[in-house]
Amino acid sequence: MNMIAPLSPGAPILSRTEVAGLVALAARTVPPLWPLESAIAVNPLAGFENLPFEEAVGRAAPLFRARRNLPLAQWRALLALGKVEERFLRDAAIHKLGGLDPAFELIGPDISRLDLLMARLSHLPVENEEATPDALTPDAAFIAKWCAAFFDQGQAAFAMPHRELGLYRAALAVIAHDPEFRALTGAAGHHLLLSVPRDPLDAIAEGLVVLGIPRSEEEGKLADLVARLPGWAGHIRWRTENADADISDGAPAGMADLLALWLLLDRAGAVVTPPRSTGEPDVTAQLLAQFGLTRATLASLPEKGRKRFAEIATMDEGALGGVFQIAAEWTYRSGLATKLQSAAANPVSCEAPDAQLIFCIDVRSEPFRRLLEAQGRYETFGYAGFFGLPIALHRFGDMRRRRLLPVLLSPQHDVVEAPAPGREQDALSLAAGQEQARRTSMLFNAGKQGTATAFATAEATGSIAGVLMAARTLTPGLVKRVNAVLSPSREDVLAPASGQHRDHAWHPTFSLSDKVGFALALFKLTGLSAQTARLVALVGHGGSATNNPYASALDCGACGGHAGGSNARVLASFLNDPDVRAGLALKDIRIPAETWFIAAEHNTTTDEVIIFDKHSVPESHGDDLARLVESLAKAGAANRDRRAALLGRTAKDLLTGAMHWGEVRPEWGLAGNAAFIVGPRRLTREIDLEGRAFLHSYDWKKDPDGTALTTILTAPMVVAQWINCQYLFSTVDNDRYGSGDKVTQNVVGGIGVLQGNGGDLRIGLPKQSLFTDNGTPFHVPQRLLTVVLAPVDRVERVVKSNDILDRLFGNGWVTLVVMDPHTGKALRWLPDDERDAELSVAPTIHELEI
């Protein structure tokens, strides 16, 4: 064995910084994985976005042992449901074959290549289906077990010793006593534990030399190991790159720790290379039979014909699924572009609104907005749901702050939550109740997990738990009402105190200039006119679910996986501040004196809307508010009916489901998301977008230098693309890129979920968020379609000046369609591979064929 072989004198050993560089690159193989309390959607293939989409999927699939696309049977089900149109499937097949001429090339008598491919797509059985889940190999299971022990956040009965030394050193200190380690590594492992460097970077450098990894393969080797446990590796990335420093206090760990552990096993010969390829399928016999051909006919074809036939007969499921995916994208794009072009040509006239409402861009806002607009003279806008405020909130009674902003940003202002005037006593009661619940839970867990107390705890609390369980199962509404009577409503008692600094009473959290800047951004980015209505509501959103590890995934992504009401309250307070209005007036935004801003929060699970701080609304606006509240209730009821139909439930069920601890699908979340539309509401107001579009308001006439468009495309659109890719890949392979069935999940250490009782932390979304109960995908896996209403030259300038946009559009991760207001034409941004295939003087934009 090579594990204790001395380093040869001539073997070049990497410096610590070289190893750090390699580790950092390898770490990019997986994206950060946010914990359950602030679940953030990320593209599981974010580390591959520098590659064209198809190539990235092809590279990642063997690394993660994942499918490249949805199984063919499921695509065929979506075809039958009309989610993919036959004509677009045919067009996509022609595209796959290289265009019309190659597609209609005859293989046999009256049989074209297109006929063969269409048969494979629509009828023929699939052989050698792509990877299906396999059990975790013993090496990965071993490392996952120690990760779970190290990263536990106080849930385990016994804490892992020596955590302060870091993951790698702490593991070295204890794994000698683990029989699993001895079984995996034998005597070699024992010797290595005594001799390997204690520093993870040094251990990696030595490991790469001892294992004889050539320089050109070093990063690939480390990337392979990172990809073996994408959940734990993602957790490490979140901890080191995105979490507050106190999360790691007493238990530091970086990707080098994880990789050093892997290399330790590798040097001991304990690393198993999982099988990757299932080989190429060959459906020659079925294809011949389908067209009444024989092997003799095939053999009589010229060599070119036989080769063409074989290309299609051996096409694997991933490639066939890719054709379907493009067909789904074209089906959707064609329908949407036609409607938008018609709307752009026939703008609707807008009466002066009674009230204006600024919603989050979230796809769930769109149907609610449409139904609200039907209730009266309401004008609605779409804006990033954190309302442009880079804040962290210190909730009353909570130990840790919450980052209420997109993960693309770091908090710039720490806002404290404080008792509303006159509610100080209620706030103290609320905090005391919260603390009591926390202590009771800790005591119960300690008793439940103690070897001596487990049975006594069950005996003592079993009957109470039984009654509570029955109540929560049979009458969840009653339990909620009882709780509401016993404790005051948090939003009435507490409010974000934007004027009060957390640590320095003499120093405000926000300067006047900050407040004016954040208020101004609302107008600049959405195109909201300074001539505002009497009442303007900033509407954040959040979901509600009980006993659901993924509850925060239903909250606002722009608010870091939290509800957005606090952000709305803070910005509304700025906009009602006379000093801020005076500051805005100096920037030519003169808000009418009779305008009052209110904050609200849309509950996307129940479609109820809370209005915050009603007591501060001037009496003069009482009737306006009453009318709005009534309209919101009607819109909510209508939207509940609409959503209930999609869930196959009754509207009443949705209210119950939000409170029921056994509910596995309280809402569809952002399933179905497909488009990101940047333009004024008049472009989309008359179109039923079916809750599939992120809507960001934008007025190109008010943005001559493209600054607002740059911001919209480089931030909200990027977040939308992450969400889109998370839904796409979680659907394509729910076992690898998603988190599998909710029913068999277990929450681990307060940070994630496992399937069963061990293994890797699961990434992505659960099956119930994406598939109907009969297994058909509710979410159609397709890439985001971004539509911008703005002059083409301006969009082109913005895209070319921002690497992130050039990469996303150029590599085909997002399709960009520009609707030029001057010409009325819809133009598609050409991905790099299509541009290369076009003329030598290649345009970046191509007229869209609809």
């Binding site: 950092a24 690159l25 693309l408 921002n802």
Partner: protein, 116 residues
């Protein structure tokens, strides 16, 4: 490094490293600087400029990870050379440029090696 004088001032010769790269990669560089033992550095956000792939936009409002950043660090030659070795591996895959130069500083203790 030998020291020098500038008028009445006693100067200390050190190496300076300047690194321009995508903002999304800034943590990779911070990691390298720490690993090499650089005691401190400056980071300039929203760096605009012209490069191989055209003009790079400077400031974006809602995304700290877009655009370019520039790091400036000063330390002893041995440490800066360590940083450069790590960067060389990084820049095999990621875009970015590095400039190395000799500098003279007044307070050498400001640039002392930090524990890795």
């Amino acid at each position: 490094m030998t020291d020098a004088t500038f008028g009445e001032l006693r100067l200390h010769r050190l190496k300076k490293i300047e690194i321009v790269l995508l903002a999304e990669d800034r943590l990779l560089v911070e990691d390298l600087l720490k690993t090499a033992g650089v005691g401190g550095w400056s980071m300039i956000r929203d760096v605009a400029g012209m490069g191989h792939s055209g003009f790079h936009q400077g400031k974006t409002i809602f995304n700290d990870q877009s655009g370019l950043v520039m790091f400036v660090g000063v330390a002893e030659e041995k440490i800066i050379s360590e940083v450069a070795r790590g960067l060389a591996r990084l820049f095999e895959k990621r875009p970015g440029v590095t400039f190395l130069s000799d500098v003279e500083v007044m307070r050498s203790d400001y640039f002392a090696k930090s524990p890795a």
